[in-house]
Amino acid sequence: MKKVYLYKKFERFWHWGQSLLIFALLITGFDIHGTTHFFEYGQAVTIHNTSAWAFLVLIVFAIFWHVTTDEWKQYLPTVKNMKAQLDYYLVGIFAHAPHPVKKRTLSKLNPLQRITYFALKIVIIPTMVITGLMYMYFNYPIMEFEIESLETVAIIHTMGAYLLLTFLIIHLYLITTGHTLTSNLKAMITGWEVVDDEDVKDIVEEAVEVTGLKIRPISRTRQSHEELEELVLDALHETETKVKNKKLKGQKK
C-alpha cells in the first residue's frame, strides 16, 4: 500500500467550501421553504442569501481553476466502464471485487461520478444559481423586468434543492466504499489517496507524461511516446544540471 497525492490544495478548499455552503444553503433553504425550523425565518433568509453570494464567488474561482488546469476534462462523461462500475456497486462490492476503474491523476472519477458531477455542474448548480438570483431580484412584480409570479421560479428552486439533498445523501454514503471505510474521506482532507502498489507506477508514469504533454512545443509536434519520454527526461536532466551549476556558482562566490 502506498499513498499518492491526488487532490490539490485549491481542489480540497473548493470541495470543502462548497460542501459547507451547500449544507448551509440546504438547512436554511428548507427553513425558508417552511419544512424545517432550525433558524428564525429572517435569519435563515440572511444566511441563505449570504451563503449564496459566497458560493457564487467560489464558483467563479473554481471555474477559473478548472479552466487553467484543464481539470474540467475530468468531468466529461464517458460510457466506458459505466456498466462495470454499476455492476461493482450492485454485485462486486459484496464479493470483495476490486474497483473496476482505477484512480489516475488525469482521471480521478469513475464513469458514474463523471456523469453525476457533470449533471451537477452543468444542470443543477446553474439552475439553482439562475432561479436563486431571480428569487432575489424579481420577487416583487414591480421591476422593469417582470415575472408574473414567483411560483415557477420557487418550484424549480425547490426541485433543485431536493435533487441536491438526494445527491448529498448518496455521496456521503459512497464515501465509505473506498479502499477502506475512511480512505476517501482522508484523501479529500489531506490530498493523499491510498492506492495499490502496482497503481503507483502507472500514476507516476502518467504524471510524467502529463507534464510533458503540457509543454507546448512537444505537444504540437505530436511525437511518439518513446520520443516524448526521451525529451522529457532530457529536459529534466538539463534542468537538474542547470540547478546544480547555479548552486556551484553560488558556492564559488
Binding site: L20, I32, I93, E148, Y162
Partner: protein
C-alpha cells in the same frame, strides 16, 4: 486543519454578525425621519391671547354670534372652511363603472347607522356647523360654521344630542371662544373616536383611550412618548385636513402616509424595505386593533324591535359592558385585540350606492380594489396594490326585496308617531319615509341582507418590538395571509407534486443505502476497519 479552523471561525463570525443584525433598537430616533420636528425641538407659542379681545367678552345671543365674532378678525377663513369636505360631507369621487359622483357622509350608505338622510338632526351633531336639520340647510352661510368644536381648548364645548350641531345649553360661549387654539386630539376625537354611536365603534383603531394611552396602544400618540396629536400627521393647510377616511374614499389621493415622515426605506434591512413595495407599513406594524377598548364587529339589524314586558325599548350588555342588544338597533358583537383581515388594496375603492342594485351577497359596501398582479403602472391604479390590514364590519341590514336596493330608513325623530324607527319600531314606515327623503322608490317589501364594510387600518401603530414577525405570514399552518392565494408566498406555499416526489426520492435513497450497507455488513465485503 488550520484551514478548517479558519472556516469554522469565519462561519461563526458571520453568524454572530447576522444574529445582531435584527431590529433590536426600539427608539424612534434611530429611524430615518423626514419633515418632522420632534416636540422637544418645537417652540411654537400662541401669537395672541384671545381672552383679551373685547369682542369675545360681549354676551353671545346665539352660537351664530360667536361665529360672527371669530370671522370679524379671521376674515376669509369661512371660505376655506366652506371648501372642505368636513363642511359639505361630500366630495367628487370617480367610481369604477359609475363615473364621477358626489359622495360623502351626506349621502353614503354604511352598515352601521346606514345613513343620515331623514335623521339629519341627530347625525349632524358631528357636523362642523349649526342647523343642518334637513336638505334645506344653507351651506353658503358663513354664520352656520361652528368654529368652536374644533378650536375649543377648554374641554367644555359640547354639541346637543339631536340638536343639528348646535351647542348644548350648558356651554359658556364666551369662555370657550376666549380659549381657542390649534385642534388637539380631543377636538378630532369627539367625532372620529365616537362616530357610529359609541367609542371605537367604527374604525377599531380610533379610540377615546388614545387621549392618554401607553406605547403598546399607539406608539405615536402615547403620552409616555412623543405624544403626537392628530394634526401632527394630518398636516393641515387652509383648513384642508389631508388623509381621507379610507372606508369612504374611492380615489387614491390626498392620503396621509407613514412615508411622509418615515421615508419609503425606513428599515436597515433591504429585504424589509423591499417588502414595502407590496406590503403596507400598517400590515406589520398594526398587528392587532381595538387594543384598549372593544370595537363593533357585527351589527344585525334584523333582530331590532324586541321590547321589554312594558313595551319599552331595552338594552343588554356583554361581559365587557358593551351593548350586545338594543331594541332600536338589534344585535351587536364587540371584540377587542382583534387580528385584522388582509386584503390587496391599491387605494381605489368602489361603493354600494343607494341607487345600485344588489348583485352579490354579502353586499360589499366599499369594495377594495387590488390584486397581486396589480402592479400600478400597467393597471388602473397609479401605485401597486399592497397587502393591507383591514377591519371588516359585518352587518345585516334592511333592503328592498323587489327593487333589490339597500334601504335608507328614517331612524330618528324628536317625537314619536312620525314614523322614525327608533321611536315607532315600524320598518315599513321608516323605509317608506327614508327612501322618500332620498328621492328613491320603495316597493313596500323589505328584508334583511348581509353586508360587509372594509376599514383599512392606519392608527394604533404598535412599538417595533410588537410588529409582525416573518413567521406570522411565512408559515404553513397559521399564516396571516392564508386567504390571499393569488401569489406564491415562500414558507407558506409549495407544489404538492414536487414535495411528494422530492420526499419520496430522499426516502428511496435512504432505504436503498440502508439495504446496501446491510448487505455489505452481512457479506463482510468492504467493511474493513481502517488500520493505522
Amino acid at each position: 486543519m488550520k484551514k478548517l479552523t479558519l472556516i469554522v471561525a469565519l462561519f461563526c463570525t458571520t453568524h454572530w454578525l447576522f444574529a445582531n443584525n435584527g431590529i433590536n433598537k426600539d427608539s424612534i430616533r434611530s429611524f430615518p425621519m423626514n419633515e418632522y420636528v420632534y416636540k422637544s425641538g418645537n417652540t411654537n407659542n400662541p401669537s395672541a391671547d384671545h381672552s383679551k379681545f373685547a369682542i369675545l367678552q360681549q354676551p353671545f345671543a346665539s352660537a351664530h354670534d360667536a361665529t360672527a365674532a371669530c370671522l370679524s378678525c379671521h376674515t376669509e377663513r369661512d371660505k376655506e372652511i366652506m371648501a372642505t369636505s368636513h363642511w359639505h360631507w361630500r366630495r367628487s369621487e370617480k367610481l369604477e363603472g359609475k363615473g364621477v359622483v358626489s359622495l360623502g357622509k351626506a349621502n353614503i350608505i354604511n352598515n352601521f347607522c346606514i345613513g343620515i338622510t331623514g335623521s339629519e338632526a341627530t347625525c349632524t351633531r358631528c357636523h362642523i356647523g349649526y342647523g343642518w336639520t334637513d336638505s334645506s340647510f344653507d351651506f353658503t352661510d358663513p354664520l352656520n360654521i361652528d368654529c368652536l368644536v374644533c378650536h375649543d381648548k377648554t374641554g367644555t364645548y359640547k354639541k346637543k344630542p339631536g340638536g343639528a350641531g348646535y351647542p348644548a345649553e350648558s356651554v359658556n360661549l364666551n369662555f370657550v371662544s376666549q380659549h381657542v387654539g390649534s385642534p388637539g386630539r380631543e377636538n378630532c376625537g369627539v367625532c372620529h373616536f365616537l362616530g357610529g354611536g359609541g367609542n371605537n365603534v367604527k374604525h377599531g383603531d380610533l379610540d377615546i383611550a388614545m387621549l392618554d394611552c401607553s406605547r403598546e396602544v399607539d406608539v405615536h400618540m402615547t403620552t409616555e412618548g412623543e405624544n403626537m396629536s392628530c394634526v401632527d400627521c394630518h398636516i393641515t393647510e387652509k383648513h384642508q385636513i389631508p388623509g381621507k377616511v379610507y372606508a369612504l374614499s374611492s380615489e387614491n389621493k390626498n392620503r396621509t402616509t407613514c412615508e411622509q415622515c418615515h421615508t419609503d426605506k425606513p428599515h436597515q434591512s433591504t429585504i424589509l424595505n423591499e417588502h414595502g413595495l407590496r406590503v403596507a407599513c400598517q400590515t406589520c406594524h398594526i398587528p392587532e386593533y381595538a387594543k384598549a377598548n372593544g370595537t363593533k364587529m357585527i351589527w344585525d339589524w334584523s333582530t331590532a324591535g324586541r321590547l321589554d314586558e312594558h313595551g319599552n325599548p331595552m338594552h343588554e350588555n356583554d361581559a365587557d359592558g358593551n351593548h350586545n342588544y338594543l331594541s332600536i338597533k338589534g344585535n351587536f358583537v364587540y371584540n377587542d385585540h382583534v387580528i385584522p383581515e388582509y386584503f390587496w388594496f391599491n387605494g381605489i375603492a368602489n361603493h354600494q350606492l343607494i341607487t345600485d342594485k344588489i348583485t352579490t351577497i354579502p353586499v360589499q359596501m366599499n369594495t377594495l380594489y387590488g390584486s397581486y398582479n396589480d402592479k400600478g403602472a400597467h393597471q388602473k391604479s397609479h401605485a401597486p396594490a399592497k397587502i393591507w390590514p383591514v377591519k371588516v364590519h359585518r352587518g345585516k341590514q334592511i333592503y328592498d326585496t323587489v327593487n333589490m336596493t339597500l334601504i335608507q330608513p328614517k331612524l330618528w325623530d324628536k317625537e314619536s308617531g312620525k314614523g322614525a324607527y327608533w321611536t315607532d319600531f315600524d320598518w315599513n314606515k321608516a323605509a317608506e319615509l327614508g327612501m322618500a327623503a332620498c328621492g328613491m322608490p320603495y316597493s313596500g317589501e323589505y328584508g334583511f341582507v348581509e353586508t360587509e364594510m372594509y376599514w383599512p387600518l392606519n392608527h394604533q401603530v404598535s412599538p417595533a418590538s410588537e410588529s409582525l414577525k416573518c413567521i406570522d405570514c411565512h408559515s404553513r399552518p397559521n399564516s396571516r395571509l392564508a386567504s390571499l392565494n393569488d401569489f406564491y408566498l415562500p414558507g407558506r406555499d409549495f407544489n404538492p407534486i414536487v414535495e411528494t416526489a422530492g420526499v419520496s426520492l430522499i426516502l428511496v435513497s435512504i432505504i436503498g443505502i440502508a439495504f446496501h450497507a446491510f448487505c455489505r455488513i452481512v457479506f463482510g465485503g468492504k467493511c474493513k476497519i481502517d488500520n493505522p
